[in-house]
């Protein structure tokens, strides 16, 4: 990973992690994403945003994509470019195609009045915490993924 310095990143460096479909293992992806983002020079607050977005993407993949099936795994592919980090979280579910504009924003008033369930905030958090988020349904009901991008803001980092 020593090539992740600003002067020597001519192309993308890829790190891959494979997680069992068991709750809690999202923390492995969080730690990996955090380590890669640190090497790239992201600010601490952006790394915290990334960790939460990656955790929520993995939880969705484990719980909804792979339906907690121990025989299936979740793939996490981190691609570090010169000025951005892309994270793909891949599962074996049928998935969905969703753009950030279609993600439901939780309404705390409706939740407090029992008109909306207390859960259902994962996708909102993902899209709110990263610079780009898209959900892509896999062909033939396989290999659906969520793709997240977080950009290095060179002026602010």
């Amino acid at each position: 990973m020593s090539e992740l310095t600003p002067n020597s990143v001519p192309k993308t460096t890829t790190v891959e992690v494979r997680l069992p479909s068991r709750m809690g293992f999202e923390k492995v992806a969080m730690s990996t994403a955090s380590a890669v983002a640190k090497l790239m020079g992201f600010r601490e607050d952006r790394i915290e945003d990334l960790k939460t977005a990656v955790a929520e993407a993995c939880i969705n993949a484990i719980e909804h994509g792979n339906r907690l099936n121990d025989k299936l795994s979740v793939g996490v592919v981190l691609s570090a470019g010169a000025d951005s980090l892309e994270v793909k979280v891949i599962d074996d579910g049928t998935g969905m195609t969703k753009q950030p504009g279609n993600v439901h924003k939780p309404d705390i008033d409706r939740k407090m009045h029992g008109e909306e369930g207390p859960r259902g905030m994962g996708m909102f958090l993902i899209q709110a915490l990263v610079d780009e988020a898209e959900w892509v349904a896999g062909s033939g009901g396989k290999s659906s993924y969520v793709r997240l991008v977080i950009r290095l803001d060179k002026d602010a980092e």
């Binding site: 709750m23 809690g24 939460t52 859960r119 958090l125 709110a128």
Partner: protein, 119 residues
């Protein structure tokens, strides 16, 4: 893989003289934390407990399922005329709690002293 949630209940009195029930959490707050979070809250006597203060200072990881448990507690508290407050959240989770609207119904404070001073 998830670090078990531990909860400790403590009774304090605010400088204004109001009894405050503090729920001190430790570990992760996730889907597996239902008993530790909601169960502990539900075991409090509803007739006497009016002010509930949540201590997150020893919590490292909260996910959306954990946040949903806090919201569920807020709903139950609201139905029992109780008030929920919290302190000890990191800057990141203060931002996340604000984003999902929790701050509209529960006051967040940096530390215990600031929270008690406001109650």
């Amino acid at each position: 893989m998830q670090s078990e949630t531990k909860t400790r209940v403590e009774q304090l009195t605010s400088p204004a003289g109001h009894p405050v029930t503090v729920l001190r959490f430790e570990g992760d707050i996730a889907s597996t934390s239902k008993d530790a979070v909601l169960g502990t809250y539900q075991a409090l006597p509803k007739e006497t407990v009016r002010l509930v203060l949540l201590d997150f200072s020893k919590v490292d990881y909260i996910n959306s399922s954990g946040i949903a448990l806090v919201i569920q507690m807020m709903i139950e508290a609201s139905n029992s005329a109780q008030m929920i407050y919290a302190f000890g959240l990191s800057a990141h989770f203060t931002k996340v709690f604000t984003m999902v609207g929790i701050t509209k119904y529960a006051g967040l404070f940096p530390g215990q002293a600031e929270a008690l001073a406001a109650l």
